[in-house]
Point group: D2
Chain length 388, copies 4
């Protein structure tokens, strides 16, 4: 009891000015007070890099001009000063290369998704991970929401019976027009295959829907029938996807992901139906979970500490009593919290329990590639093959 | 002004005790006071037939033991007593035969959907209809909702721009278990191909979703990629359907119809997105229409007389000021109202303006057959061919 | 079984062109097919009167120029033709006089609320009613909603424990501006004390809130502390009311009624809390009833036939399965249905069971007068005295 | 640009194990990375104090056994190590004494509300504050929500016209039963007048409703008519309050605050109506603001960066794009952020702009005392006198 648990020393690659997701990571990591930012390579633009580091309270000496230099320099520092965890918030094409090098250099890695640009690249990363002592996590933030864990728990405990149907959707509207051409930097790099990968919408948000579906419904998707679309002239990558799917456990479902549903914000949602009832969760109202049943009126389970009908996995991801809304940053902070625990107490098999790991990344990447293949295929069903 | 407009004399085929939909028809027809029930052949069970007629205020003389006798006897009555409109609320297999004979006998017909058991049977009915002087309408009740007309008007007026995406779904839960085997009569006949047709869920509610999509989005669906399911042992017809689709106008979409979404009631819904915005309508909250836009905050248009921002087609289908909920029966009553107007003022081309006619029936039937064909096909896309 | 139950012959006083509420009565009475309009004195304007009767299918002979003539003439008709039930949908000042004469002439009366212009006038009406053989009902439509009965049943059965708090509100916005001065006829007569009575908003909708509170919470309100307001220059009657109240059973509460909550439609709502839980019902979503509890997650009970967890009183007021919305007209039709049953089977003590009777009228009138007295009083509490 | 802005060094009084609100303060302060915890006097229980400090990463040397010692010791430290801001999260009775001493010792103070146990005590604190160089803020967290600022901005800009009605409510359910007697520590101290002050519910949450009403509606409440209640045997302080009120600007309203609305969580809400429209905000869905209008359909303004129709004051309090929910901790973090800015850039008149200051505290305390006086008075209206 007398030893203060030191904060985890954290460095960032990426996240210069204008990066929404990097700011979210800083806030999420700050929320529970278990992390300390010690270094960064925020931007290839030297001034941006320094300004960002300065704003975040770093001395110039630990604002590195490249991530390679950062890995090298940090590795040379005394253990008690050295960065422990590297957070990767760059455009997609750097995720795997940076992660590989960081793991090889002895650091833990928390990476934005997707884990790589291709399944091949990712399998290589897995090999490196397996040969390292590092822990690896993916920022599938939506898997940090407590009511997502509650839903999964109810499915696993048979509350809705055998799962038959999974309906998951993620309709956004922000790419309805040519925002990349109008200077939106988020849209700009996402529109370039070299930076973003082969998938556009299917990779950016389709993977969220996919991972949520497999996680909550406790199913393994085995076949896809996908139709992708591009709706803005000159856009190179898909901005819209819809697909039918089947699971190994015998369920079927629909996955919708789109960035041209004009006017929509971020309403990721999932519904799972079994032979006894169904569950519904909507990210824009993340503190509610609807449970429908053949045997009783509809119930709305609400997030909040101290409610005996919620499972432990959900409750331990909550900070506040019911009626005090928690949101996106809290969900991401739950991933950080689990990562912190794993770093201090030791994870398992290169994974921080509670944090989506390389397997989620592999399945997500297989999903992207299968969806694209299915789109180009005349066959109805394309198998999704990924043994993780 | 001095001549009272006489009520329309109406007869029923089907609708003996226990028929939910027949009761709804009686109530909807009664709502606006423009119809008078004068005869019926409610049930093949003689006692049920008489009890039903009695309960509905009919003399025994006009409770007929068969629909054939009814057509014959009513035809022989003086014009001012004779039934004018025949309402068909039997199981599906009788829809087309009764309609054909009734039209031939000089009566107008308002039929429950589907219009026939097969496309072939329905094309025959169309020929008969074209050769008759009768008006023909289909009880696609959801097309009677005022905010559905409002949505269609906004789409047609370009409020959301060019339509790109159509998401329509109709998830029910009442066939999650073997209710037919447990004595539910609605489920019983619906489960028999000879009475119901080749489609189960796809015919019963899939057609509602299909017709709503084409109506609101003002699109013609040309290709389907469908996956149907059967989830209860011994059930002969599909209880679940999901499909991707494409339209002649270049949009794509998803249609979900299911009767095994355990715990769901009747949440038919549609979302349509164009390049400027989107619309959302949900049947369980039928008095609201959500309009999202790239250029302004989300708006909720609400049903209710006297609101200048609603279109005429919507307003004339409303009875009450905003905040006084209207529902399913009022929507059906709107179809009856349009039918009454057409009967008294003359319709056009065998159709009552405002009431879904034979073309909606034909497209719906083509939809059913195409969905089933697609389900059995290994090809991704199956064309939906139906020139109406 | 061989005798057809004849429809109830109904006449109207009031309800010429432009009357929203009269049209609602026609529709509600028509919905279940148990009433037949046989006569009317719709308007003092002769042409309006005839036009209205004509539109409603009446012969000129039974469109009477005054209600007095109607009572006299109908009384003289043979019993099997004669009007049985008089529906009063005039401005308020005629409610009691017409009702009194009609009861004296042997007719049943279904009156719009308020039952009279003053408590004194209403007590006189009660005396006449008690001396008659007639049944008397008040169109407190909101008490016809099935989920209102469900809520009352749950309160009575102790589901929420001992009632502590009652929060009832009825905020409308349609009198936010000087609509009477702009030609709105509904607003015009409501603004004249001689036609409307001493209360404006407090009488027009405050009584709805009051009656709903006493009905659902199963409480008797004994003390008021009211603040009324007038917000438009030149308006004579209150357009806004708020008050604290106490009940004989020990609960306390708040009642809000306003017609200057700009932009609001008709969101009458009630919340009742006991020591174990609470109930919430909102008229604009009338098919849902929310049940909160200390011991389980929030439940939403939904209207719809065939749900075993709903009480008989609620279920028998429903026509459709869950998910098929019923609304305002169906609620009013429930009052008509109960009135029809009472007329054919005999009511009790001048009342049709299920239909708000003279007692509800008396308490409502006492409420209006007490609220006005309280508003003008400097004392905090003003007793509401009304033994019915 | 080359100088890193140092984090603000923060100390806590109160917040030992089991304190929900202290944990929320730590998280809120951590969210944006501008604060650093340097010391604390968390609990009078020495072990609890040390454990808490240890968990929070403090060395034993800066875990003080009493707040008096902490003030003294910190004051003696070099300026660059010394605590700058004292956060007070004790039970109510210590708020003012600790704040007074801290201000006198040269520290800034951020205090949980209420600011004191009585108006007299608080006026004394104000004098001390005015004589100090410190900044003083109150954790009225709900005033940190961005859509609350948006609502206020719209009111001030006349979007809803002249304000007529203000309806504010805060119904909780957690004191429905004798939870203090069952070991709930939050309930325990709140139930003791010596620790909590003269008001129970009225102080604990009534002040939130009061401050929100004055803030959003931009009104000064001048008269109250209150009814308080106690619903659990042996409870000393009110657990329920309802009141009518009037404002200096001519509006009227209703305030409801209760802790015995069994089953309710934390649905603080406010509705403000002017002569042109109305606004509605609900804390449990804090990212939405409903705008009703006489001239257009209902609009729902949604929180999220980058929306040109939101005001600057709202947007600068948001971190994420629309559809990424922010909640209670983010609202509190907004207060911390404004406090940080004021500390680093200089506040004004002992206040951090954007953070509720001593004036909000004074009006809140006057509200509590006036509500209690009104409850005990037979007069309808009790003036709320507080010139700040």
């Amino acid at each position: 009891m007398n030893t203060v648990i030191p904060k985890i020393r954290m460095g960032f690659v990426g996240g210069g000015e204008g990066s929404f997701i990097a700011q979210a990571h800083h806030q999420a990591a700050g929320l529970d007070g278990r992390f300390e930012l010690v270094c960064g390579a925020f931007s290839r633009d030297a001034q941006n890099n320094l300004r960002t580091g300065n704003r975040l309270g770093l001395p110039q000496s630990r604002c590195y001009s490249t991530w390679q230099l950062m890995l090298e320099a940090e590795r040379a520092l005394p253990a008690e000063q050295r960065m422990e965890l590297l957070v990767i918030v760059t455009p997609n094409h750097l995720h795997a290369p940076v992660a590989s090098e960081a793991l090889a250099a002895g650091f833990h890695v928390f990476s934005e998704k997707p884990a790589a640009l291709s399944l091949a690249e990712l399998q290589d990363l897995r090999t490196r991970l397996n040969n390292s002592a590092g822990l690896y996590g993916l920022a599938h933030t939506y898997l940090g929401y407590p009511m997502v864990w509650q839903a999964r728990d109810m499915v696993r405990n048979g509350v809705i019976g055998n799962v038959r149907k999974v309906l998951v959707e993620y309709p956004q509207g922000w790419l309805s027009q040519d925002v990349a051409g109008q200077g939106n930097r988020q849209a700009e790099w996402r529109g370039q295959p070299a930076l973003s990968g082969a998938g556009g919408c299917i990779a950016d948000i389709g993977t969220h829907a996919f991972s949520l579906a497999e996680f909550v419904a406790d199913q393994t998707i085995t076949h896809l029938c996908a139709n992708l679309g591009v709706h803005v002239e000159g856009r190179q990558l898909d901005d819209d996807a819809a697909m039918l799917f089947k699971t190994a456990q015998g369920a079927s479902g629909v996955l919708i992901a789109s960035q041209v549903c004009a006017g929509e914000e971020n309403p990721l949602s999932i519904r799972v139906y079994g032979d006894k009832g169904g569950l519904e969760w909507r990210q824009e109202q993340p503190n509610s979970l609807i449970h429908r049943s053949l045997e009783q009126p509809m119930r709305t389970l609400r997030s909040g500490t101290g409610q005996p009908w919620l499972c432990a996995a959900a409750t331990q991801r909550m900070r506040l009593p019911a009626g005090h809304p928690e949101g996106y940053l809290e969900a991401m902070a739950n991933l950080y919290g689990d990562f912190a625990t794993a770093i201090r107490t030791g994870g398992a098999k290169n994974t921080a329990p509670g944090v989506p790991g390389i397997e989620v990344g592999l399945r997500g990447m297989a999903f992207i590639e299968t969806a694209i293949a299915s789109h180009h295929s005349d066959a109805k069903w394309t198998p999704l093959e990924c043994n993780v």
